[in-house]
Amino acid sequence: MKPAAPGSTLTEIMSQTWAISARIVREYSRQRRNLIFWAVFPALMLLLFASIYLNNAGTASSFDNTPAGILIGAALFFSCLGGTVSLIVTERERRTLRRLLVSPLHPAAYFLGVTLACCAVAAAQTFVVYLIAWLIGARFHGSIALGVAIIALSVCAYVGLGFFFGARFAKRAEDVNGPVAALGVPLLVLGGTFFPITLLPAFLLKLAFLDPVFHMNQALKRATAGETWWNLRASLLFLLAFAALSILIGIASYRQMLTEEKRA
């Protein structure tokens, strides 16, 4: 028996990234509960907000902004952050992480594979949310490329945080919801996900500027209204920096988890 000859490192990482990503998407497609939750929950939220805004002629135009908040707060938050935490915990509990450790899998390929899978889920969620919103009457007035860039940065930020929470705070499946809800839900509320930030008192508004969800929401809502890259540069830069930071923290936490897993 002759073992497989290794390819070049970059080709191998790309192949492994694709393998990890395809596996995760295939697993998700079999987990109906996740699929329903990730699709039906944002859709229901959208319908709920539509019935609030569209019943009142004075706020009908505000409905254009609603899909952005729903996508960031009710869709991507759960699939990309909660999903990543759950994925890591499951790998550890089912001992598949250990099996991956004795395979030639490059750690970077695992990280990239999870991110790519989350991007695929995010793309599907974006399609569902904006399709429903469009059917109800909401319109996206800005640059689609800008919208895609904001969503991609949000996915990266959520995945990095997911690795951080999954590796550091959630040792078992039962631990998944605790840290995500405890930190995530206040960030969603403070980030103006479900209501206009004009309702926030001054001191909370100052605090909100430090909340990455606030910048995700504001960037996507303002992009929806047709604002340009240049107008959104402050939020985009904040998001870029936060996404980079959360990925770095996620990688560091993941590496530490692998070291601990090797010793287990």
Partner: protein, 302 residues
């Protein structure tokens, strides 16, 4: 030429020395059984082989060269627990791990088909792992370790928690792999499994191999040709009679184990103990279990 060699490996955790000057050499094409009580260091040795742990001292060589990440690719490890993706089916699990090992698509497809046939998994290939019984899951678990056709296969209690029929099928597969030239390191608590499959066996305790050899060589560790197990209420009298016959005594599970230097029939043993109240007497040839207990000093004090 040796495939694998552990040379003077030591490893400690906190203040406990888990491997203590551990030495082991595996020759090409042999099935080596590693036996020992829980906590004796078997898993640590496997973890060092899998590059999950670094030894504190000593070296591991693979095909005569220092063992590293590159040579780890020649290694297939079947873990004791089922480590599979439960929502994927057998074919998808195999294909996924084959891709991680860099098998090109055509070779991957043919290898997956080969393994499904070898493990008689064709009819279950499309069923998610969570819907399979434990025995079939274990087969897939085993098959995944073979997906890249490893030169050395490490099987960590591969047949634990499977029924007798499945166990014999897995034994048959292990024999087939050996015939194909695959070197196998097997850990097990099932002594009949080790006896049936292994060309050599090493018995470990406290982090090192105390004895190793073929089954016949290990049986010579017991200073007897046959074993009589005797139970009765007059324990002291039974013991005194056995000692007077020149037999060495051991004790296990409250029974007197008599090491008989000659083979005796059951009738002869009963005759030798005539006049004493006997509850039960059995006579059997020396087995690997007796050799194992003798080597690890696992008998209870008489």
């Amino acid at each position: 030429m040796s495939v694998l060699s552990f040379q003077n490996i030591s490893k400690s955790f906190a203040k406990k020395r888990t491997l203590d000057n551990f030495n082991l050499t595996l020759e090409q094409g042999e099935v080596y059984g590693l036996l020992g009580p829980n906590g004796c260091g078997k898993s640590t040795a496997i973890n060092i082989l899998a590059n999950l742990l670094d030894p504190d001292s000593g070296t591991v060589t693979f095909n005569g060269l220092p063992h590293n990440r590159q040579s780890r690719r020649c290694l297939g490890i079947c873990p004791q627990e089922i480590a599979l993706y439960r929502d994927l089916d057998a074919r998808e699990n195999l294909s996924f791990f084959a891709q991680l090992f860099g098998l090109p698509r055509p070779r991957r497809l043919s290898r997956v088909t080969e393994l499904l046939q070898l493990f008689h998994l064709e009819q279950f290939a499309g069923i998610p792992i969570h819907a399979l019984s434990g025995g079939w899951q274990r087969r897939v678990n085993f098959a995944v370790a073979l997906v890249h056709s490893p030169q050395l296969l490490v099987l960590d209690e591969p047949t634990s928690a499977v029924d007798m029929e499945a166990r014999h099928e897995l034994w048959h597969i292990i024999e087939q792999l050996r015939l194909q030239g695959c070197t196998i390191l097997l850990t097990t608590h099932l002594l009949d499994e080790a006896e049936h499959l292994c060309s050599r066996i090493g018995i470990m305790k406290n982090g090192s191999i105390l004895r190793q050899g073929t089954v016949l060589e290990l049986l010579r560790e017991v200073p007897a040709l046959a074993i009589a197990t005797i139970e009765g209420p007059e324990k002291h009298c039974l013991r005194a009679r056995a000692v007077s016959l020149g037999w060495q005594m051991r004790s296990a599970a409250g029974k007197h184990i008599c090491l008989m230097p000659q083979t005796q029939t059951l009738a002869q043993v009963v005759q030798l103990f005539s006049g004493l109240d006997l509850a039960s007497v059995t006579v059997q040839p020396v087995s690997l279990e007796h050799a194992y207990l003798e080597v690890i000093d696992g008998w209870q004090a008489s």
